[in-house]
């Protein structure tokens, strides 16, 4: 089922949580709402679910207006950040809950419920935990049960509110791969909220980047990462170094390198360079930025160097571990920086 969101606006007191949001969720896709905390992504999800009502705008479920429909008519499955499992029920009862509480006409038989619940528990690979209580499970297991519970009622839309936010990195990585596989299996239209750009890039079919209650960009992970629509998107999707420059006849120059800024007018410009897109060298080339290595931080497979430039700015450079060892870079050494790739934004102010 597709979802269309038209001009949704929501205000809490003087705070504008959502400002004229327009987007479409295609049938069967997995869409990520990505943004920093407080950007309105959770509010938007709750508006879609019907847990909050919007001040203005329209929500269409499969083309029909659902703006004023009650939560129960929308047939959504919702997975909460902190699981929200019913504590006094076993895992089996939790998953069966949505089926058992249906009115008699639409309620499946007890045997059918049992079959369905076990099928779902197998799907989330936790069949052996059916008789446990939520308190006896780990965080990752609880979240998978919460997902099974949401899927039990065969929702038309699955909404996940930072589903892996409360889990540790290892479990989170495992679960997001698992979620992707699960989605490929069941193909239910899903929207999930996250503030983790890696998670969004890895799992989603399309990403909606939000900031301050507005949509900054909508696109596939490749589009969003390779062609960020605004400095905010670029900054949010990874670490950046910022250089000031000027656009002149469609080109901006940083450290002797020219970067294309097609279609941008001549003006002061912000040039962003990702730490792993900067080369270090000991020999000076035309226009390269001179600096001195300040700190070296080992981050597992990569090494991050902080280079102090002559204008007392700090530039971060990320090297692959082997590269770093081969170069034998030392703290305090004088080096030259040459960016390989950059993103130019003319006429933006931060």
């Amino acid at each position: 089922m597709s979802i269309e969101i038209k001009g949704i606006t929501k205000q809490f007191g003087a705070f504008k949580a959502l400002n004229d949001i327009n987007l479409e969720v295609k049938s069967g896709e997995l869409l990520a709402l990505l943004g920093p905390s407080g950007c309105g992504k959770t509010t938007l999800l709750r508006v879609i679910a019907g847990l909050e009502t919007a001040d203005a705008g329209q929500i269409l479920f499969h083309g029909s207006d659902a703006t004023n429909a009650h939560v129960r008519e929308r047939q959504v499955g919702f997975v909460f950040q902190h699981y929200a499992l019913f504590r006094h029920m076993t895992v089996f009862e939790n998953v069966a809950f949505g089926l058992r509480v249906r009115p008699k006409k639409t309620r499946p038989s007890e045997a059918e419920i049992k079959r369905r619940v076990h099928q779902l528990l197998e799907l989330v690979q936790l069949d052996w935990l059916a008789d446990r209580y939520p308190a006896q499970l780990s965080g990752g297991q609880r979240q998978r049960i919460a997902l099974a519970r949401a899927l039990a009622v065969e929702p038309k839309v699955l909404l996940l509110d930072e589903p892996f936010g409360a889990l540790d990195t290892q479990v989170r990585k495992e679960l997001r791969r698992w979620l992707r596989r699960l989605h490929d299996e069941v193909h239910v239209t899903s929207v999930f909220v996250t503030h983790d750009q890696e998670e969004a890039l890895e799992v989603a079919d399309r990403i909606v980047v939000m900031n301050k209650g507005q949509v900054e960009q909508i696109g596939t992970p490749e589009q969003v990462y390779d062609q960020p629509a605004s400095p905010f998107v670029y900054q949010f999707l990874g670490d950046v170094n910022l250089f000031h420059s000027r656009v002149h006849e469609g080109w901006a120059e940083v450290a002797g390198q020219r970067f294309a800024a097609p279609g941008q007018s001549d003006a002061g410009a912000l040039v962003y360079v990702r730490p792993h897109e900067i080369d270090l060298s000991r020999e000076s080339t035309e226009g390269a930025i001179a600096g001195q290595i300040g700190h070296v931080r080992l981050l597992g497979a990569t090494v991050r160097l902080e280079v102090q430039t002559a204008d007392h700015e700090t530039v971060e450079v990320e090297l692959v571990r082997e590269h770093y060892q081969r170069g034998q870079w030392q703290v305090g050494e004088r080096v030259y920086l040459v960016p390989r790739n950059a993103q130019v934004y003319a006429d933006y102010s931060i």
């Binding site: 847990l51 699981y83 809950f97 949505g98 509480v101 007392h312």
Partner: protein, 366 residues
Amino acid sequence: MDTTPPFASLDACPPGSDADFALSGRLELSTVSALWQETRQRIAGPTRIDASKVSACDGAGAALLFDLHRQGARIAGLRPEFQRLLDSLEPDKPFAPGKLAHRKPLLIRAGQFLHDWLLELRQQITFTGAIAADLADLVRHPRNLRWQDFLRQCELTGANALPIISLIAFLIGVILAFQSALPLRQFGAEIFVANLLGLSLVREMGPLITAILLAGRTGAAFAAEIGTMKVNEEVNALTTFGFDPVRFLVLPRLLAGLLMAPLLTACAEIVGLVAGALVLEGFGIPFNTFFHQVASSTNLADFVGGMVKAAVFGLEIAAIGCLRGLATGAGASAVGSSTTRAVVQTLVILVVTDGLFAMLYYYLKI
């Protein structure tokens, strides 16, 4: 490496030059404190300061320059890197006014209070309406209630509260009987203790004592239980399953309160009377005489009046407990505050209701 201790100085410039004073040396934590004293004594009002000979400047130095700038001094010739340090402190920006100093006027605060109060009133009216609608629906379709939940709540509210309520009722009975028997004995009227005990327990003390205990025990538990569910988003989870939290969570508790409060009150009355009888036994009045006296002084109307009152109390306790639970905000501390509010609000409402019942019964001549 330079081994001389860091040094900074403030010198007056010869008249006729561009500046009034010249700062030189290293403006660092170790030098600034002495220099600051000096500037305070020598520099006042708008002056021109030449800072071109400053060779180092850290956060403390920047603070000094910031302070001078605030006093109206114009600092010139600072090296760009130090100038940037000073600029990052935004010396031209006025200080944000302190929050305490800026208290809102009385009228606005009064308006805000009224606004909050009206919001809460609306919430209460909505809740009452939702309960009434659900109760009316229940009468037509009794199968919609989750009877299992109802029975469990009855057990928690009623059966489990029996020991504590019996104990308190027993003690109240003993105390009332003993305290009234002593003065009445002076007139040889101990037998009228039975009248006093019967009437006061059945009409007033029984329902009220039970209700106060229930408020602390059950009302608080309802608020905490539903509040925790609210904080954990279990209430929202119920909603997404198409459930009305009022029907699912509140109705069983409400009915349990409505039914259990009168039953507990009846128990409390019996235990209290037995306790009184035991005391009077000590004063030489036999059981038979005591209960005969009680039966002749209290009538069915007294008892029914007490029961009706107890039922209303039970309803109020459960409703306020559930309402406060559902109105719980976010965070674990919200559960604590809503529990406290539930108990306090219930106690106030209980006393007010008791007063209203006293008036009602007076006019109905019960």
